[in-house]
Symmetry: C2
Subunit: 83 residues, 2 copies
Amino acid sequence: MKFIAEIQVMPQKEILDPQGKAVLLGLKNLGIQNVADVRIGKNIRMELDVADEAAAREEVEMTCQKLLANLIMEDYSYQIFPA
Amino acid sequence: MKFIAEIQVMPQKEILDPQGKAVLLGLKNLGIQNVADVRIGKNIRMELDVADEAAAREEVEMTCQKLLANLIMEDYSYQIFPA
């Protein structure tokens, strides 16, 4: 069965995010004043072909921990849905 | 009123994604074989302080078009919810 996983990997709250700060400055320069904070991370879209949703979840969890996220500095979250 | 916008900026389908290809190769090296495709883009979390959800939507739309996405090569989508 085919599933699509959308994974978000974001810098942890305590970690400085210079890319986000740059975008915040860019927004002010565009005249957009009412944005309080911007944080930038990665969005990963994975297509999996596994038996069921539990297997998809397990595989995505493993992928996040071993490959996609640096757990010292980043948090991850994901959504899985049938393709 | 405070809102949080989660914005995904992804390379368009026709555009090569070398970062995604690298992750796919990494997955194979980890022994994970049943992933068909990986694409990597940005996930942006913005905190806005605006009057209502319509205003938030307008602001996020403008931000995506003017600053966050390169519309020649990237697509964007977003979700807005109260903080």
